[in-house]
Each structure stands twice: as C-alpha cells, then as structure tokens.
Amino acid sequence: MAEEEDAEVAVAIEPITLPKLGIGIGWRPELAVYIDRDPSLTFVEITAEHFPHRRVPPALDRLRDLGRTIVPHGISVSLGSAEGFDRDSLKLLDDLAKRFRSPFVSEHLAFVRAGGLEAGHLMPLPRTRAALGVVVENIRRAQDGLSVPLAIENISALFAWPDAELSEAEFLSAVLEQTGALLLLDTSNVYANAHNLKLDLRQFLDNIPLDRLAYVHVGGGIESPDGKYHDSHAHPVTDEALSVLEELCTRVDPPGVMLERDDHYPADADMRAELRRIADAMLRGKQKRAGKP
C-alpha cells in the first residue's frame, strides 16, 4: 500500500541529457580577470541575488559569447518555507537563465525566512513526511515558474531538528523523485554534515540519486576551535572535503564540478593549484571506479 502511495506522488521523470559542464567556478567580480584568463574554466555559476536589477557586468556577456556556460544560482528563494517561496527571487533566477541561455538554475533544499524573520543563511528543514510534502509542493510550484530545469542543492546544517522520520539521503532522494528536480551536490556540505552532525557520508552518497546529478560544488572551509567545520568559502578546500569529491567520483562521473570562493581570494598561482587539486581528486576517484590502482 505504501508503495502504491509513493507511486502516486512520484512524478514521471523523463530521461534528460545533462550538459557536460566541465570545471567551473563561482563568478565574483574579484575573480573576473582570473576567469577571463583561464580557458580551462568552462562554466561559471552566478549568484542571482548579486544582480537584483538584472544589470550584469559585460564580462559575463563576454564569457557567454565565448561559449562558457553560465548557471544562475539562488540563495533567497527559500523553497522550504512553509509560508511559500519568494516569487520575485525565482523570477530573477529565470530572467538570468533566459538572458544567458542557461541549461538550468539551482537553489537550496532549505528555508531562509519565517514569521517575518530573515535568517540571512540557509536553514535545514525538519526531515519529516509533513515537511517533505510541503517542500515538494513548493518546488513543483517553483518549477512551473521556471523556463529551465531546477537543480536542488544539499546544505550544511548548523543544527538538527528532533524527531527526524527520514535520513538526509532519504529526504533529499524523495524530494528529487517527487519533483523530478536535478541534483546539485555540495561535497563540502556533505563533509560538514558528516563532521558536525555525524552523518555517514559514504552511506549518504550510496543512497542519493546520482543519475540526477547536474553539477557539484566544492567549497573551502575551516575547522573552528570548537571543533565544528565551517563551510566558509574563504579558505582552501580541505583534504577531507576533497576526499568526498573523490568518493563521489568512484561512483559517478560528475557532469560539472566547480569551486566556490567568496572571500580572501588567492593569487592566480594558488587558485590554479586549488583547481588542480580538485581535478586530481576527480581523477583519483575515476581511476578507482575503473579499477586502476
């Protein structure tokens, strides 16, 4: 009976061909010159909220004209809000996708506001069947307002809700299955949850629909004196976070992998080295998948 009910709510997921994005980076004004000069970066992600008036720098139009893919990414749509998501933020995402002829847009499996309060950060959802129903309904409505597919990103949770009925993998998988959304997997967030909330990262990777994977975030972080890992995007990517990417690549060949860096921008040589470490981790995972030592 339970299976029949699940079958009713699951949407018919049509096979889609996901574009091969390659290696990318989060576009920031401070990185614009570096990105221009590094042809190995074949895609960039832009944060939609940085362009609230839809006026974008000519550098981004130039990248698009050079054939580099631009993926708009949202941080304030609040797809998990019980009060409903922000339609203006969703429209901004869609307008940018149309402008850059993007293959998809992305947002988080999170809420950022409730009861008139703005968190200013991504908050986790209670992993209950009730919350699942609400977020699925929200995402379906959001998809109706988008002209391109939507990819959903896992977040790093700063706290855990009590009385979880589903594991993180089950919750994420159910959302993707019931909405047909794509997956944006943040491997640093997977590491953060494994470290801070004792998530079993291998079990997590084994139980999420990697066939829905659109692209991957890898962000730098740091462990604070209290032992918590912070996904700061202001420090180099840690070896531990890279090991999650490697682990992922033993299972699947990600269509795209990108570095997130938002502060304390490194010199060009250090940035190249950081991107090289990401590529090396991917290669190690790929070799393991192929059975090579």
């Binding site: 609230p52 019980a82 009861g115 950060h121 700063l158 706290f159």
Partner: protein
C-alpha cells in the same frame, strides 16, 4: 484544521525566533546547537556588513563590532537586498545617532541607492551629493557648495 504547512510554519517560526530573537529553543532542540547557530548567524551578518561597507567599517575601527551588534539586536535582517541592504540600514542607524563618519556617507548613499531608495541627496561637509539609480545603473554627481574654501 491544522495542516502540515501550518505545523511546519510553526516549527520554522519558533526556530528562527530562538535563533534571532533570543526566544527559548523549541522543545526537543539541542540548546547548545541553537546557541552555536545563533552565534554563527550573528557573526556572518556582521562580517558581510563589514564587507559591504568597508569605509564605514574602517571609520568605526574597533567599535564596529559593538556598534553593529547593538544595531542587530534592534533591527532585523532585511527581507530584500541582502548584506548591502543590511549595511545601508546599519548606516541609517548610525546616522540617526550622529555617528555615521562623513567619509562613509557616499558609500552609505550608494548602498541605499543600490538596494532600497533609488534617489539619494545629501549635504556632507562642503559637498552636495546626488545619486540616482536608473534601470540598474547608478549615476552620481558631487557639487562643491563653499566657494573659496577649497
């Protein structure tokens, strides 16, 4: 009848009230995790405001943290505009108390023009500053008001 959406709305409201308005943690939540998260949110908000308004941060120097935390207790994070709008509100808060450094006035006006109010006009020292946002583009002019004292 209480729906799933109502239940989730209450949970989310209570969580944010605990994190941002010093309410007690909702039943079943780990008070230490809530306290840690509240600290992270406050630090992030302050750090992002510092990045959005570097001249203001430099002008306040060591008192930035204390002044910002006092402001953040009274003024919630804005619904729209992100850190730039928040930094603009912080500037408003300081200006109302006569604490906004003159050299941060132009930056403050730019933040407001970008996020909340399209047209800005202010007299700062010997200057009259005019800023307007038109279709996402910012135009600004400064006029020297005092002859012979430049």
């Amino acid at each position: 009848m209480t729906t799933d959406r109502d239940i989730l709305a209450r949970q989310q409201r209570e969580a944010l009230q605990a994190l941002l308005a010093q309410n007690p943690p909702p039943p079943g939540m780990d008070p230490a995790q809530i306290q840690h998260t509240a600290h992270v949110l406050q630090s992030k908000r302050r750090h992002e405001a510092r990045l959005a308004a570097p001249l203001l941060a430099a002008g306040l120097g060591d008192s930035f943290t204390e002044e910002f935390d006092d402001f953040a207790k009274r003024v919630p994070y804005p619904r729209h505009g992100g850190p730039a709008a928040d930094a603009a509100l912080f500037g408003d808060h300081l200006r109302a108390q006569g604490l906004l450094p003159d050299h941060a006035a132009y930056e403050h006006m730019m933040l407001k023009a970008r996020t909340t109010r399209r047209v800005q006009f202010r007299v700062v020292g010997p200057w009259a500053i005019f800023i307007v946002r038109v279709r996402g583009r910012i135009f600004s002019r400064r006029f020297w008001l005092r002859r012979g004292s430049r």
